[in-house]
Structure formats: C-alpha cells, structure tokens
C-alpha cells in the first residue's frame, strides 16, 4: 500500500528526514515512536504535502502512484488521511459544511453524486455520537473554541466519514485524558479492517495499550533505527529512547 524508500526531506531548508524507509501493507497498524525532534510529525506532513515540507530525494509510492507528485487534495482522494497533532481553527466555516465538502469531494472523485443534506446530517450525527462529541459542535466553526480533546475527536470523526485507506494519526493521543484516549482508541479500532492501514505517530507507549500495533518503529535522527513488534514499545517505555540511539551510534 505504502512504500517509502530512502526518503530525505527538509522543512524550510533544514533537513529533517535522513533516509527513512517504511513499508505498510493493507490492514497493518504501524506505530512510530521517537523522541522530540526525531522527525515524527515531519513524516506525516511530507506525506500530506504540506507547503514548506519538501522531499529532497527518495521515493514514496502509495497505491501504485508516486505520492510526492500529487496535490494535497489528490492524495486525500486516493485515500490518505492525516489526523493533525494541532488541528486548525477556522471560524466562520461551519464544521458541518466543511465535513460535507470533504465527503462530497471524495465522492466526486469516485464518480458518486454529492450526498443530500439530510442523509449527510444523519451520517455526521452518528459519527459524532461514536466519538462522543456533542452534535452541537457540527454547527460551530471548524474546531472553533474546541478544547484539545474535542479537536482530536473532531479529527477522528472526519476520518470516520472519509473512510481513508491509510490514516496517519499524528500524536492524536497527546494531551488526552484516559477517557478521551479510550474514545479515540475505540474509534480507531472500530475502523480497523483487512484493507485499511494505520500509522500511529506517538510519543507515549500508553496509546498502544488500547490500539495494538502490528509493528513498532523507533525514529531517531530522521530515520528508522529499530523495528519490532509491540514488545519494543514496552521496552522503550521502560528504558527510554536513549538506549536505542546509543545502540545505533
């Protein structure tokens, strides 16, 4: 599904990713862990095509296409979803209309007609129930005045409505209390199936108690320095990140 080979990337001219390689097959859940500044968030932004985040060399293939050549919205239409660590507040643009614009755009690419307002409203209300977000939030501006946890749940709701093939969750667990974390984990778990893959970028092992990954990778200095199964995450929790870096050095 996703094949990243020897990816080097820079942010505003500064090299952050240094030869990162990663293969994700359909249905797999990969956790990417690492200390601050290791390039975790950069990976997500490069894959989503954020301006200022530039791939210098290497390749990224997603569902048989050269991902790096596509516009941001084209990546989304192919089935790539990035849940932001810091979702943007857009006052004046209603959350409902934003969600509908997203879903309609994806449907249009698939050759399906736009949903009528009533059907969509029903879908959105159901999704908001699953992520435990008051439906009143649908009428507010996008993320406007939402708490940190509400923003994360709003991201999750978008993911549910867009049904991506690959979802990258960028520190979706950061700043969540245990109840909110449970809600997010349940949402992700309910979306897991043999065709849909996830990349969970996280700073804390805690998330992986709720969402069991197939693979755990440690990112350091802009590349993956160690990979393993979920037991690697436990080891990291116990011993910190320093030993991995030391071992590599």
């Amino acid at each position: 599904m996703l094949s990243i080979k020897d990816l080097h990337a820079s942010v505003d001219g500064k090299t952050i990713l240094n030869g990162l390689s990663l293969t994700v097959n359909p249905g797999e859940v990969h956790a990417i862990m690492g200390p601050n500044g290791s390039g975790k968030s950069t990976l997500g932004h490069v894959l989503a095509g954020r301006p200022g985040y530039e791939a210098i060399s290497g390749s990224v293939e997603f569902l048989g296409q050269n991902l790096l050549e596509l516009e941001t919205e084209e990546r989304a239409h192919l089935g790539l979803f990035l849940a932001f660590q810091y979702p943007v507040e857009i006052p004046g643009v209603s959350n409902m209309e934003f969600l509908k614009a997203s879903v309609d755009a994806a449907r249009k690419e698939r050759g399906e007609p736009a949903l009528d307002a009533v059907t969509f409203m029903k879908m959105a209300r159901e999704a908001s129930k699953i992520v435990d977000l008051d439906p009143a939030f649908l009428k507010r501006g996008v993320n406007e005045g939402f708490s940190g946890g509400e923003k994360k749940r709003n991201e999750l709701m978008q993911m549910m409505l867009l049904e991506p093939k690959l979802a990258i969750m960028d520190e979706t667990d950061s700043g969540l209390d245990i109840d909110a974390l449970q809600v997010v984990a349940n949402g992700v778990n309910s979306m897991r199936n043999k065709d849909r893959s996830f990349i969970l970028v996280t700073h804390y092992q805690r998330l992986l108690n709720f969402i069991e990954p197939d693979f755990v990778h440690v990112l350091s200095g802009g590349k993956i320095v160690r990979s393993g199964d979920k037991s690697l995450a436990l080891e990291l929790e116990e011993r910190g990140y320093a030993w991995v870096a030391d071992e590599v050095a």
């Binding site: 989503a48 095509g49 516009e71 919205e73 990546r75 932001f84 643009v93 997203s102 501006g141």
Partner: protein, 429 residues
Amino acid sequence: MGEFLQHSLDTAAKQAPAWLSDVLSNGRRRWEASRWPDRKTEQWKYTSLQALQQEYHAADTSAQLPDDMTLPQLAGNRLVFVDGNYSAELSHCDSHIDVVRFQDASAEQAERIREHLGTALNGEQHIFAALNDAALQDGLLLDIPADTIIDEPLQLVWFSSQCSAAFNINQRTLVLAGKHSRAEIIEQFISADGSQAFTNGITELILADNAALAYLRLHEERRQATHIGGVHALLARDSRLDAFHMALGSDLKRLDLVVQYVGPGAHCDLNGIYLPRGKEHIDYHTCIEHAVAHCSTDEAFRGIISDEATAVFNGRIHIHENAQKTRAELSNKNLLTSDQATVNSKPELEIYADDVQCAHGATVAQLDETSLHYLRTRGVPKDEAEVMLSFGFINELVDNIGNESVRNYLRPLLAQQFSADPDLTRHLV
C-alpha cells in the same frame, strides 16, 4: 454636478414643506460655505469624488421597478421607495411604528420632526449631510412609541432605477426610538442594472433612555450607482444600538457612521463588512464619541478586497475627558485576494479620560496557508477551499446578526461575490 445641483436645490427650496424651510436654508448655507473635498482634505484623503464629476439630471418621477425584478422581502413590513418616491403598490406595513412622510406630516408631527431632525448630525463636519439638508424635499419619520416592543422588523428598500442619464436621490430617514422601546429596522439600497443614481443618504437614529434598536443597513448598489451618506446615532442613557452594515462595491461608496453617547450606561455593537472588487471603491469612516461615562462600544469591520478594488476604513474613537469607565474595542481586518487590491485602514484613538479600557487592532492579510492546507488534506479542492475561507472570514460577522432571515438572505448573496461557479459555493449556504 455644480450647475444642476444649484437648480435642484432651488427646486427643493420651493417644493419642501414650509416648516422645513429653515432646515434647507441652513443646509444650503453650510454647503455653499464648504470647500469641495479633494485629496488634501484629511477626511477624503483616500477617496476621490471623480465619479461624481458628470452631468446630472432630474430623476424621472414615474420610474417603476422593472417587471423582471423582485425586491427582497426581509420582513413582514416593507416600505419601498423608487428613486426616492414612495411606492404604495410595493409597500406593506401594519407596524406599530408610526411611519410618517415629511410631506404628509401633521402640524404635531412636523413639530416632532423639527425638534429632532439634525440633532444627531454635525453638518459643519459632514458636508454631504449639509447637502442632504439643503435638498430636503421629503423624508421619512419612523417613530417608535415608548414602552413598546415591536417584534416584526421594518424593512425600507431604497431602489434606484435604470435611467438614460445620471440623477441624484436625496434619502433621509429619522428614527426616534422611544423610552424602553425595542425594534428592528433594515434599510436596504438596491440599484437596477445600469442605474447611474447618486444617492445622498442620511439616516439619524435617536435612541431615548433604555431604548434598544437593531439597525441593519445593506448597500447593494452596483456599478455606476454611487452613494455618499451616513448614519448618525444619538444614544441616551442605558440605550442599546446593534448595528450591522454591509456594502458591496460600485464606482464610489462613502459612508460615515457616527455614534454619540449622550447618557451613561449605553452600548453600541457596530459591525460591518465590505467587499469591493473590479475597480470598485468603498470607504467607511466610523466615529464613536464617548462623551459620557459608563458606555461601551464593540466595533468590528471586515473587508475582502479583490481585483483592483480599493477600500478605506477609518475608525475613530474619541473618549472625552469625563467619559470615565468607558470600554471600547475596535477591530478591523482585511483580506486582500489580489496583488492589485488596496486597503487603507486607520484606527484613530483619542483618549482624554484616564480610567478606561480601550483596545484596537487592524490587520491586512491574505488567506491563511495553514487553513488552506488543512482543508485540502480533507480532499477539498484548492479553489473551493479558497472560496470557503474567504466566505468564512466575513461569515463570522454575518453569524452574529440576530435576524435569521437577513442571515439567510446575505449568505448566498455574499457567496456569489467569491465565485460565479455554483460548484465552488455549494458548501457555503
């Protein structure tokens, strides 16, 4: 316009009701004593009156609304004026607001008009207000009785017709909001395609103690239909004015919005949006006179300036020496969607009292890249995302309008401003 104007002021002086004659002669004296503003006049530094330099003719008094045009109905009670003349056929009103045309005023009503007319105006400062006085053949009194709550808004539509030559319209509205009254008034200015009307419009809002008035003024004159005028408000003790202004562009629009607090405890919410495009020009000058203590102002104006259009926003807040405990906030944000678009934004604070809270901010920016990217990561195409963000920028103020039918009317109208392609605007309204 000089020679024609001379003639039209002579005609007005002959046709106006006798009891108004001193208002006209006073206005004319002030008008003639004033210097025609040019770029060296501070108040007119960024607004050229070039668009008025053409030949004007008398308006055709038999003008009608074109058959293929319907005027928006934003309230159950609507009064329509075609080129300044009342149209009974298009109007319907059974409001508890006492509606009186100056021409029809009884002796008692005339006395009431004379008592208040011009009291909110500083005609020495506003030369087009002086012109309005000088040309005052007729006007409209909206008298809101004391202790009355009027739920149904009253809508006034000032329609200017298509005409083979340029002509001028003198619009004058006097609103008297009685003690403890509550009401809502919408004034709307609409031009026919090809209208070359120059409207000189003045509305005075005089709020008695504890009166609450919602006032919405929508300028939809397009192309060669120009407008210079303003709204001048006097707020007595504990009164509250909720004002919303909107201007779509045309060759020239200049609006002076003046609020004077004359009693303590009064509050004004003053919001507005302006959206010139093409080569259009819109100028809002606001002036808040905090002359007494314990009053508050929340003012927010936003503009989206496209193509080669220009906008001016000048926001003055004057806190007089004894206006202690004043709270005043002013925000002006502008979005430029093209390299050739221009805005001149100037907050002007003059504070002479020492125990006040006062804040102001002005910004000029382009669309936020991060927001644009966020929408695109969700699959929204770039052009649609740009339209959504532009719309969102002004929709924040539209969301604050209390009247739902006005919100529902404005959203599609504003959406159209950003794109003629319905595919790009379908998620806005």
